[in-house]
């Protein structure tokens, strides 16, 4: 009998432990067992995936891109959360700042989250470039807290919002999850307002190398996708992990913009 599938995850919050213990318990009743290993950063996790220490990595989109680049594509995405298919970045200003589009940021200060955050730094820079804003057209205020966790903690984005509220920045780029956690502009319409929203892109996925046997990968994915929002115990884990309702198969086209951004910005494949 095969040993348990070993999944790596990054410990960006105390809730990572109950999340993965819950998923491990769920798999204990299934056709393939799984266990997990926690890492302090995505760099170590991707290294562990490539050297075979773990079978599957619960990766951010940047960790996925870097795995693809380091393995010359000899890896695959197995599954993701439903919210990972429709992730977005929003640009937010103080209410009444008269910013209507990214082009309006010319000559302004934009606060970004950690430089390894796809949603709050890498993609926002790409979006501004696509809007015709060069390096000298915008003053970037980078808030590099929690480097290594790819923005998972949200801390750098919240610090960026504080900079905006303190009038140290004119705009801020946030992941849609952080914007919604604050209450978007529904709870404080007189303080902050969203003025631009990106196209949807993909965020996290379960990444495996091509060496993972197909039957094992299929058993893992089939059982993962069978997790039910209608089961109270399973739902608790899914809520904690931030799912809207279900695990889904990956949509790889949703990573194209990040591959482009990584190449354009010269972000190394390994760090």
């Amino acid at each position: 009998m095969r040993q348990a599938v070993l999944v790596g995850a990054v410990a960006y919050t105390t809730n990572v432990v109950p999340i993965w213990e819950g998923i491990r318990d769920y798999f204990a009743d299934g056709p393939v067992e799984m266990d997990f290993v926690l890492f302090s950063n995505y760099g170590r996790q991707v290294d562990a995936l490539i050297d075979g220490t773990i079978d599957i990595a619960w990766n951010t989109n940047l960790a996925w891109v870097r795995t693809v680049l380091q393995t010359d594509g000899r890896c695959r995405a197995l599954a993701m959360r439903d919210i990972d298919r429709t992730f977005q970045t929003v640009f937010v200003s103080r209410a009444g700042a008269s910013l209507g589009d990214l082009a309006d940021l010319r000559g302004r200060r934009v606060a970004l989250g950690s430089r390894d955050s796809a949603q709050a730094a890498i993609l926002p820079v790409k979006y501004m470039r696509d809007a015709g804003l060069g390096t000298d057209d915008v003053e970037l205020i980078r808030i590099d807290t929690d480097l290594g966790k790819h923005g998972d903690t949200g801390r750098s984005e919240l610090d960026a919002v504080r900079a905006l509220l303190d009038e140290e920045a004119d705009a801020v780029a946030l992941g849609i999850n952080t914007w919604e956690a604050i209450g978007s502009d529904e709870l404080m319409p007189d303080a902050l307002t969203e003025f631009w929203r990106s196209p949807e892109y993909c965020h996290c996925n379960f990444t495996a190398l091509d060496s993972l046997p197909d039957d094992v990968g299929k058993l893992f994915v089939d059982h993962l996708l069978a997790m039910s929002w209608d089961d109270p115990k399973q739902r608790t884990v899914m809520e904690l992990e931030g799912l809207r309702r279900e695990w889904v198969l990956p949509e790889l086209d949703g990573y194209a913009s990040l591959f482009t951004a990584v190449e354009e910005q010269g972000i190394p494949a390994r760090w």
């Binding site: 105390t14 949200g154 504080r162 209450g183 404080m188 109270p232 608790t236």
Partner: protein, 336 residues
């Protein structure tokens, strides 16, 4: 406005970083309490209070009642067992009786009509088993009618001391259905000493005779022993099982439980609504949390016997609340 926005950012940072279920104090200053409440509701957290500019928030996701109840095995789900105290009077005066039953206890009978309705409503609302207990149910001369009505709806167990199977009451026993009915007879020890010490001289032998009679009449018999802490050692327990083996009582039909510090008992296990998995219990006076405390105000759920579904729902809701609270207490109580 900016102050409120800063508060929201602080809430996301502080509560978001906490463990699920943790109580998180967050400085909110003069921010609008309604805004804090709306943020909590939207984010799936629970605002517990705001005192002196500090909001205390329970970090979500907060498991709903169904999620809490899912942790309990199906056979122990609150609301699956329905206990009915048919009367309260008893032919014995056991010194540990949790219901304070005795020959001097006033009869407080639920009556066949209400029992029929309780079982019917219970069956419609998830009850899967009925337990009839006394005092001593066999003091009721319409017990056979009551039992037939219950068994017609649900599997039923009658708790008895087994001492009254003579004359008219033996005929009543014989008139009861065998299918869907079990008799749970109290027997505390392998020899008369311990049993008679608490239940009265000669009661052990008569209970034993009652077990034999019920078995001979073709009834399924369970035996329940109530044991004082430390009273039954390994040898006593082995002897007790040996006796029950000889009587043909299945292993699964043996219940050995400690004395509860309730009713007449001075000592025993302390049981509270927070520590018990509830088993909905109806007496003539109301609906209670558990049969071990059916004569105690602290475990009264409602004085209204009907509709029974409301009482069952209330028990399930309260149980989920207690479980959530105890989980939190376990998380925050540390000694060092």
């Amino acid at each position: 406005m900016v102050g409120d926005a800063r508060t929201l950012v602080d809430l996301v940072a502080r509560v978001g970083a906490a463990a699920a279920g943790e109580r998180v104090p967050v400085q909110v200053g003069d921010s609008d309490p309604e805004l804090v409440g709306r943020w909590c509701e939207r984010a799936g957290h629970r605002l517990l209070r705001i005192d002196d500019g500090v909001a205390v928030i329970m970090r979500g996701p907060i498991p709903d009642d169904d999620a809490v109840l899912a942790e309990i095995p199906p056979e122990r789900q609150p609301g699956t067992r329905l206990w009915i105290y048919t009367n309260f009077d008893c032919n014995l005066a056991c010194d540990y009786c949790c219901a304070r039953s005795s020959p001097q206890a006033e009869r407080r009978a639920v009556g066949p009509e209400r029992i029929r309705r309780l079982v019917a409503e219970g069956a419609e609302h998830g009850v899967t088993e009925v337990y009839l207990t006394g005092g001593e149910p066999f003091l009721l001369l319409d017990l056979d009618e009551i039992v037939r009505d219950c068994v017609a709806r649900l599997p039923t167990t009658v708790l008895t001391n087994g001492m009254l199977f003579r004359g008219r009451r033996l005929r009543m026993l014989r008139a009861m259905p065998r299918d869907g009915l079990a008799l749970q007879i109290s027997l505390d020890s392998a020899t008369p000493d311990l049993h008679d010490l608490h239940r009265g001289a000669g009661s052990w032998q008569r209970a034993l005779d009652g077990i034999r009679t019920a078995r001979d009449e073709g009834f399924r018999v369970r035996v329940a022993a109530t044991v004082s802490p430390g009273a039954a050692g390994t040898d006593e327990t082995a002897a007790f099982h040996g006796l029950l083996d000889g009587l043909g009582i299945e292993r699964a039909d043996r219940v050995i439980r400690p004395v509860a510090q309730r009713g007449f008992a001075d000592d025993g296990v302390t049981l509270t609504v927070e520590s018990l998995v509830p088993e909905v219990t109806v007496t003539a006076d109301g609906v209670y949390w558990h049969p071990v405390a059916a004569d105690h105000a602290d475990q009264l759920v409602t004085r209204d016997l009907f509709p029974l579904a409301d009482a069952i729902d209330e028990v399930r809701r309260r149980f989920a609340d207690y479980r959530r609270e105890s989980e939190l207490a376990a998380q925050r109580f540390t000694c060092a």
